[in-house]
Structure formats: structure tokens, C-alpha cells
Amino acid sequence: MKILVRYVTRRPRGNTVNRDELVEATELGIGRGAGNALHLSDIRIQYNHAVIHPAGPGHATIQALGDADLAVNGKPVRTAEVSPGDEIDVGPYRLRLLEPGEGHEVGVSAELVAPQSDDEERVRACARTSFAREMPGRRPIAWALVSAVLVLFLALPLYSFLAERPTVTSDAGLDPARMEAMHQRIAFDTVWTSGAISGPHRFTAENCTACHQDAFVMVRDSSCTACHQDIGHHADPAVAALVGGLAETRCATCHKEHEGPQAAVQDDQRSCTTCHANLKAEHPKTGLQDVWAFDPGKHPQFRPSVVTDGATGKVERLEVGGQVPLVERSNLVFPHSRHLKAEGIRGPDGTVKMQCSDCHTPSGGLFQPVSMEKNCQSCHAIKFDPASPARTVPHVAAEKALEVVRDHFNSIVLSGNYDDVTAPAVVRRRPGTEMKPEERAQALQWAAVKTGEAIDRLAGKSGCGGCHVVTKAGEGATATLAVAKLHVTDRWMPKGIFDHPSHDTMSCDSCHAAKTSQVATDVLLPGVQTCTACHGPQEAAAKVPSTCVTCHVFHQPGLPAMRPGPDGKTAAHPAPALAPTPASASR
């Protein structure tokens, strides 16, 4: 059978050029291989791609070989009958069956309809080489980040501030329910915190406006005193108003918040020495002395408050080792040295070696007051009648004590049976025996003499005079005793804090020269040099670092409370003493 094979080439302008070949065969092989009658030279065509079996004039069957692709009129097929007009797609080629003509019964045309693209263009087209093009734009990323920052860290916190106005404004204090409520709220403005809130204030940590009540205004003292209502002033308010530095000092100057869980108390010595290092020059009238640090020469010598006049109880501050002898007129007669003799002293039950702690019982950082009943009486019972050694007078006012003495001897007169051979017979009479009038007079006379002797004894060292300054008036049984009022100082240095228990590794006499103190007028206080032997300023490396607040307090307990004025400032108020502020007047 004669088969016409026509290769169609389409020119750029659209017109076609045909190249015809006449083949004598029973079937027509299609493929890239040279042995095929319809030779399609394209790598996309298989070596033996398909075969056409002519089935009569103008008819044929086409069959795909192997896994070669074949489509007739756009439909993928493996085998199909085709006739002129059908479009047969073989790879990139389009085949058509031609009408039978002269010299051939079957004709097939082939046209390359999908030529290979330009290699360079193809390589370039499928390459994705620009990193910037593969990434989201830098500008959108920047805008997204800026928006996130502004919303999360500016807009939402501002909303929290505006929505939650101050809740700690009244001076009603805090109740647990409100503290809990303050803690529970969601506060966006906590992202503005500059650090952890101190432990005692942590419950307000979610509530910034508890302290930061107004925008762009430093925390006012009134925020502090809303809760800390009774915190003592540092100085007499009338004086404080005159001291520039103090008047301008805010609570937060010393109480720095957001510095971690420890209490917000500033213990740096410079907080104090800013004013106190140069106080005399700034305020010549002040009675306070300048201080720079706790170091010899930088801290004034101790000036204990001692009683300088036993009659009036007048108290003056005298310097340890100063020109004025440090003597306390307490009206007490007491030799420490005799009690602390190393070999011991005679006690009711034999020799006793006394310790400081026998009389000085610790109480907090200080000691309980020494009392006759607790600390002296066991040795120093006030006896007045050698014949009745068990009888003592109580440690009461002198006139009451003398009543006890008079009653004692009068009752002996009444009862008789007194066991003393020197006493008249009437006093030694059998109990229940009646006295004759002259015997009564004799007995009363004896009682008066004995009472007088007892009063003399009480006035002397073995009686009240052993510890007290005693003045006797009159003679005999009607004599009276006046005991001078005692002015035993509880704290010689009331503006200092000394914690005895934390010094319990030291012996008492390393600071207090009690063993050699023979009189009670001695003030058994060490000088500052005794302290600075071990303690140094806060920067000390070879000593115990000690700042001002180690021994002193800023808020003086005995002074009026610090209350802020209308402008929220504390220290400047109350202003001059002549015109009390409403805050101080209301207290």
C-alpha cells in the first residue's frame, strides 16, 4: 500500500511548507528512531512511539506503543480509528489523516506544533534567584512589629491606666478583700514596671495607679501615707519646715521601689549624710553635730542623756570623755564593783559569785528594769529588829515602812513574851498577863526607844541608806525618813538603737566597765571608739559595715506623723507651727 507522509513546517509568517514522501508499506511506524517511516526528530517522542495501520482508503487505526502518549481529538487513547479531519496528538506533533489522492490510499501529515522553547529563556524563566523576592518585604515586617509594640506596650497599658483610676486614695487603710481584688485584675500597664515590687507591697504590683496616680508626676507622698498614716516625722515639724533639704525630700528618695523583693528601705549612709554631714554650716542653731560615716573622727562622740541634778531630775546630754564629767545624779547608791568581785560576795546561803545576768534580764534588744523585789531583796532584806531577824519592812514608801516598824514594837508591848533579856520584865511577861498602868508606861517607853533605834538602822547603810539617799528628820520614835526620788535612766541614748542579743559573742565588760565601777554615778557606757573598733562605715571591708540606720531610725517614734499637704508632699508639712495644716489639726 502506498502511504503519503507529509512533513509540514510552519514559517514565522504563518504559511506552511510541505515535504512529501511516498512510502510503500502495510503499516506506518512513528518515532524518533531512524527506522520509522514517519520519523519525528524530537526527544519528547519515543524511539518507537506509535504505529498506523491503514484500513482502506482514507481510514486507518493508530496504536500507541509502550507507554507513549497519544491523543485523538484531545482525548488520550491507546488505540483509535481515525479518518481525515481527526487531530492526532503525538508528543509535540499534531498528525492529520489526509484524504486519499493520486498515488496513495492513505496519507498522514505531521506538524511540530509545540517546538522546544529556547533553552536559555527556559532556564531563566524557571530560576528563582532573588532572595528579597522570596521574602516578605522588610517594610511590612517593620510595620507589623511597630504595630505590635505600640498596641501591646503603649495602647493597652494606657487603657489600663485610664480605666483603673487610683484605688488607694482614702486613708481608710486596706482590707484583705480589696487587696485580693487589686491583685486579681488584668493590668496591661504592668509591662511598664521597671522591676520587681518589694515583698510588702507586692499585693499592689498589679495596680500601678495605687502609687502612680497621675501621669508624668513623680509618686506623691500622699500615695504612701494613704496606708502608712502614722509614720513618725523625722524632726519636729516646725523645724522640719525650715530645713530645706528635709522639706524637699520625698518618701521615694529613701524608699526606692521596683528594686526587687527586699523591703524598699534605703540604708545607704549617703541618704542621711547628704544633710547631716554639713548640718552645722547650713543651720548654725542646730544642736545636732555633723556626721559623715561611722568611723573615728567622722561620727561624733556619744552624748548620753544623763540626770545631772538629782533633786530636779534635770536631764542633759554630756559627752563621753568630755570636759564636763559624765556623772549621773540618779540618787541611787550602788557599787557595781563590790557585787562583781571575782572572789564572790557573802550571800544568805554562803559565797555567791554574781554575774551581770543575775540582775540584768534581756528584754528585746535591751533589759528589763532592775527591781528590789526581783533582784535585790533575796540578799538585801530590810531587817530592823535584831531580836526578830525574820521581820523585814516591805520596799514601800518610807512613812509606810516606818508604820510597820512602829506596829511591830507596839504589838510586842501588847503581847509580851519578847525573847530579849535586856528588855524590861513587862515586855518579857507571860502572854495574856495584864499590865499595870506603870508597867504599860515602862513598856511603851521601851517600844519608843526600840523604834528609834530601828529607824536609825533603816536610815543607815544596812537599811534604806544602803541604796538610797536618805534624810532623817526628828529623833526617836517620831523621827521620819525622806528617801530621795530615784532617776534611774532607762536609755541613755534614746536616739540610738543597740541590739544586745546580736552582740552576745562579746562579754559585757568588753563595753561596760562595771567591775571597776565603785559608785552609781558612773555612766557605764563605752565611747564611740569602742564601737568603731569593730564597726566601720558601709564601705568598710575589714570591719562590720554599718550605716546610719544600723543604729538610728529616720521616722522618730515620739514625733507627730508625717502627713502630706494638699500638694501631696509630706516633709514640707505641717508648715510653720503657728499655722497648723488641716491635716495636722485633724489629728
Binding site: 524518533r32 527556559r122 509591662v191 526606692k256
Partner: protein, 278 residues
């Protein structure tokens, strides 16, 4: 001025010295100054260092904009870059001392963290600019990306011509290598410089296998094809390495620039918050 003076060596390390002096002064002040309470941004030194840091950040960001204006000329540009790098590095010390080493979950530490990331990405940027151009030149071997791609296209054509007379399987792998080989790709592909299951690699392997079992005239043609495919694979490796270097030189800017802008925003909020809740 030396001919090959880099931005790092600009004018005898002028800006390195300036930044070093700033760092030394900051550290000295930090050591000498003992604030009442712990070191923090709210002391006088803290405010001082914060102000210096703020001005520096503002200026450095402005420099970042300025140095991209290439009409400044090469010398001026070099000066800007040099200042940007060294003063940016000094900011790490100034900013850290400003914090007083106090960090927390807040906007202040956010600003600090952004600053650190921006500086770290900048350090990487300097490394990239110093290191990769040399590697790129060595990798290209005198060619450009354009000529390398043209060479790949030419190899594709030659492979195709050779494969025409070979079997269907050879034709298939050559066609696969031509049509499915990817150059570049998404950001990760560019950064990693690697393509999993590259069709050209597959083609090399398969043709190697086929060549082993062939002894006739086809063997020579297969060997020739293999040589072409190997050249193509080598070219692709170099192209991908080249693209990787380019991506590595660009990627830090996607951190550095947007985070710089975010840092400016966080910094404004930081200053605002400090004085809002004074």
C-alpha cells in the same frame, strides 16, 4: 589613604577609636559611680547613659538611611558605614550599663533585647560583607550568574541532541533533568543552597548505571552524555552556592532593618513609660 582600605579600617580606625573611647568612659564612670541603691537606669549615670544610648540609636538609624544613598560617593559612604558599625557596637556596652543589669518581663527589657538582636544581626552583616564576597568570587571562577545559566542552557541542548539517538530511558532522564531541574527557589532553598532529589543528579546516577552495562558504540555516546550531565551538575552546584552567598548577605537585613524600626518604637514607649509612671 590606602587603596584597599575597607570600611573597618577607615582613616586608621578613626571610628573604632571613638567607639572605644566611649566604651572606656562608660565603663569607668560605671565603676567609679556608686549610686544610692543598686545600679539602674534611674540614677544620674543611668539617665546619662540612657540619653547617650538614645541619641546613638537615633543617629545610627539615620546613618542606616544615609548610607544607602549611594550618591554620597565612595569615601563618604565608607565613613558612614564605618561610624555605623563601630558606634553600633559601642551601644552594646552603653545600653547594657544603662540597664544596670536589671532585666525583667517588661517594655524596658524588650527595648534592650531588640537592641541586642539588631546589633547581633549587624555583627553578622559585617561578617557577611567581609567574608562572602571573597568566597563568591572564588566560587564563580571568573563567571557570572548570567553566563553560568547560559552554560546550563547550552548543556541542556547538547544533552538533548546526544540523547536523541539513545534509548527511551536515557531520553526520559535527560528530559527530566532539562525540565524539572530547579535553580534557586524559596527563601529556605536559597539560604540552604541545597535541592533535594535534583533531577540532574538523578540523571547522572541513572546514566552512570546504564553506561556500565553497555559495551557497543552506544557506550561512547553514553559516556559523552554523562560528561555533559556531570558538567551541568557541577555548574548547578556553583550556581546554588552563589545564590546561597547572596541570600546569606541579604538575610540579616530582614532582621536588622525591621527590628531597628521596632526598636525605635519600643524605645519611645520605654522613655514614655519611664516618665509616665515616674
Amino acid at each position: 589613604m590606602a587603596v584597599h582600605e575597607s570600611f573597618l579600617e577607615y582613616r586608621g580606625f578613626r571610628f573604632l577609636k571613638a567607639a572605644g573611647a566611649l566604651v572606656a568612659l562608660s565603663i569607668l564612670l560605671y565603676v567609679l559611680y556608686t549610686p544610692i541603691g543598686p545600679h539602674n537606669g534611674g540614677t544620674w549615670l543611668g539617665y546619662g547613659l540612657g540619653t547617650v544610648g538614645l541619641v546613638l540609636i537615633g543617629w545610627l538609624t539615620y546613618l542606616g538611611v544615609r548610607k544607602r544613598q549611594y550618591d554620597l560617593g565612595p569615601v563618604k559612604l565608607k565613613a558612614w558605614v564605618s561610624a555605623h558599625v563601630y558606634l553600633g557596637l559601642s551601644l552594646l556596652v552603653v545600653g547594657t550599663l544603662h540597664t544596670g543589669f536589671q532585666f525583667g518581663w517588661n517594655v524596658h527589657t524588650l527595648a534592650y533585647a531588640l537592641m541586642v538582636v539588631v546589633i547581633a544581626s549587624g555583627i553578622y552583616g559585617v561578617y557577611a560583607y567581609v567574608r562572602y564576597p571573597t568566597l563568591m568570587t572564588a566560587n564563580r571562577g571568573g563567571q557570572t550568574l548570567d553566563t553560568m545559566m547560559r552554560a546550563v542552557a547550552e548543556l541542556d541542548r547538547q544533552c538533548r541532541d546526544l540523547a536523541m539517538g539513545l534509548g527511551d530511558e536515557v531520553a526520559r532522564v535527560v528530559l527530566d533533568s532539562q525540565q524539572n531541574t530547579v535553580i534557586g527557589g524559596n527563601a529556605w532553598a536559597l539560604l540552604s543552597g541545597k535541592v533535594r532529589g535534583c533531577p540532574t543528579g538523578r540523571a547522572v546516577t541513572r546514566v552512570e548505571e546504564l553506561a556500565k552495562g553497555t559495551a557497543d558504540a552506544t557506550a561512547d555516546r553514553l559516556a559523552a552524555l554523562l560528561s555533559l550531565l556531570r558538567r551541568k551538575a557541577g555548574l548547578l552546584r556553583r550556581i546554588r552556592k552563589d545564590l546561597q552567598y547572596r541570600a546569606l548577605m541579604e538575610v540579616w537585613l530582614f532582621v536588622h532593618v525591621p527590628l531597628s524600626v521596632a526598636l525605635l518604637a519600643a524605645l519611645l514607649v520605654h522613655v514614655f513609660a519611664v516618665f509616665f509612671y515616674w
